[in-house]
């Protein structure tokens, strides 16, 4: 690779995210794809993200520069604002050359949508903190969330284009008064993986959950459902958590109370490629998302559903509008009512009892991804949005 040196000023594109990158979370996969497309279109650029741990504060790869915010500010709002200011400082040297700034959240957007800019702003809405933070931070007052909502509206109004990964999130953005013409649907995608070797420590027969462990993921529902499958000898539940082990404490306690702890295997922060292998050899992949405001009003675009289909595994997921956009009941797996452990257990049991039909669902899921849910397709759609807002793209 060619290594370029110099002052670092003069990027035409910047991608800003209040997320650690790289990491084992789904958001990192998404950021890698979107930022790569942006930087390919604009001959490099600045990626401004969260760092910490062993990640270097700055990195330069050819024409691409990565800058990581790693100041330890414990309070989330303080941290978000400190990040916002840091972003402002990092966009400043590129003010005269910047053509597109792609942001993922209001605190990244705020410095990008400032007055007097010449660049275009693309706001990628994967979620709305004003809705989601009510779940992660239950002590946040309605008045506080209303302020965050005002902040979101301000940034959305001032952005030149809004990209959403699902129609449900698109509808949530429209409720802010954002005109339809400004909202572009760019679904999440997956790469269809080649044959993956069975993980050496994989149990004989297992169902798998992949993802983070926030309450809306419905791990508690899955645990209760799994307790109902105790009669299936040798069946294990593998949880590939994208977050550190200590985050699993409440779910593990629940598993112990339900008497299933010895049948659950935990893996934490596995690299993306290893997760693909765990998916590929599972009997069923489960996405037990709860029917809460975060999943219903705000919407979501669960990468785990797409990646499971790409791996050729039948999916049992909650029947939510955002999930229905990705898969169909009885075709790629089963959709079950959210928050119903008995229904979830029954759907898993049926798939286990009809392995041929389950395998056919897995195959159809993979075909569905190959046909319309690849990252290549998502990136082509994103490139189209860049062309719309910054015609000088070359």
């Amino acid at each position: 690779m060619r290594v370029v040196h110099g002052g670092g000023a003069g990027h035409r594109a910047a991608y800003v995210a209040f997320d650690r990158f790289p990491s084992s979370k789904g958001s990192a996969v998404h950021i890698a794809q979107m930022a790569d497309e942006l930087f390919t279109r604009f001959g490099g650029g600045l990626l401004a993200v969260i760092g910490g741990a062993d990640l270097p504060r700055y990195q330069r790869e050819g024409t691409r520069e990565v800058a990581r915010f790693d100041t330890p500010v414990p309070n989330l709002i303080d941290r978000a604002e400190a990040f916002s200011r840091w972003v402002a400082g990092h966009l400043e040297p590129h003010r005269d050359t910047l053509e597109v700034c792609h942001v993922r959240d209001p605190w990244s957007a705020l410095p990008a949508v400032a007055d007097g800019r010449r660049h275009r702003v693309l706001y990628e809405v994967n979620g709305l903190p004003s809705i989601e933070m009510a779940h992660t931070w239950p002590w946040a007052a309605p008045g506080t969330l209303a302020k965050i909502r005002d902040l979101e509206r301000f940034c959305l109004e001032r952005s030149d284009a809004v990209v959403v990964p699902s129609a449900v999130i698109g509808a949530a953005v429209r409720r802010f008064g954002v005109p339809e013409t400004k909202i572009h649907l760019v679904p999440n995608g997956a790469e269809v993986p080649g044959p993956a070797e069975r993980p050496v420590d994989a149990p004989e027969r297992y169902i798998v959950y992949v993802g983070a462990l926030q309450p809306w993921q419905g791990l508690d529902v899955l645990m209760r459902a799994f307790a109902r499958l105790a009669d299936l000898d040798g069946l294990r539940l593998v949880v590939c958590a994208s977050v550190p082990e200590r985050r699993a404490k409440p779910v593990r306690r629940l598993a112990e109370r339900l008497g299933i702890a010895d049948r659950v295997d935990w893996r934490f922060t596995l690299p993306h490629s290893e997760v693909a292998a765990w998916l590929a050899h599972a009997e069923v992949s489960v996405a037990p998302l709860t029917g809460c405001a975060r999943n219903l009003d705000q919407g979501c675009a669960p990468l785990k559903v797409i990646e499971s289909m790409a791996a050729g595994v039948p999916v049992v997921a909650s029947d939510l509008p955002a999930v229905r956009e990705l898969m169909a009941d009885g075709v790629h797996g089963r959709l079950v009512p959210a928050d119903r452990p008995a229904e979830l257990a029954r759907a898993v049991r049926i798939l286990l009892e009809y392995p041929d039909e389950a395998a056919a669902m897995g195959r159809r899921g993979r075909e569905r991804v190959e046909r319309g849910l690849t990252w290549a397709r998502s990136r082509a759609l994103l490139a189209e949005v860049y062309r719309t807002i910054a015609p000088s793209d070359r």
Partner: protein, 131 residues
């Protein structure tokens, strides 16, 4: 691995490897034989990564943005105050950066394992929303 020993006629020779972090989604170390050391952080860098001025890519990139020291005791408060002033000055906007009062912020303090929000550490996820 930072150094490798190789047997030769003159006995083992230690090769110092380039320490520069490379990669985008999957990070690694460059690992080429080092040709110089960075003028600022003194880490070994190979010929491809040694830039003009003798800086490694990380220090060269950092140079364009200035630095800050988070280890000052009153840093957070000072940072925030400075932030309001400079941002409201820069963006002619005294609203957004000052709209969250102490009461609003209080809900977002990290707690212990039993508090909502949980603890917060250097290995934590930081995004507001997640897929």
């Amino acid at each position: 691995m930072d150094a490798a020993g190789h047997g030769g006629e003159e006995g083992p020779v230690t090769v110092t490897r380039c320490h520069v972090t490379t990669g985008f989604f999957v990070l690694g170390r460059c690992g080429q034989a080092a040709a110089a050391s960075c003028a600022r952080c003194v880490r070994p860098v190979c010929a491809a990564h040694a830039g003009p001025g003798g800086l490694c890519p990380e220090c060269a990139a950092a140079q364009g943005y200035g630095t800050h020291d988070p280890h000052e005791p009153s840093w957070t408060a000072g940072y925030r105050r400075h932030y309001y002033q400079s941002s409201s000055h820069a963006y002619a906007d005294a609203t957004w950066y000052a709209s969250f009062d102490e009461y609003d912020r209080g809900a977002f303090d990290p707690g212990d394992d039993y508090a909502h929000g949980g603890d917060w550490g250097p290995d934590d996820d930081t995004g507001f929303v997640d897929s």
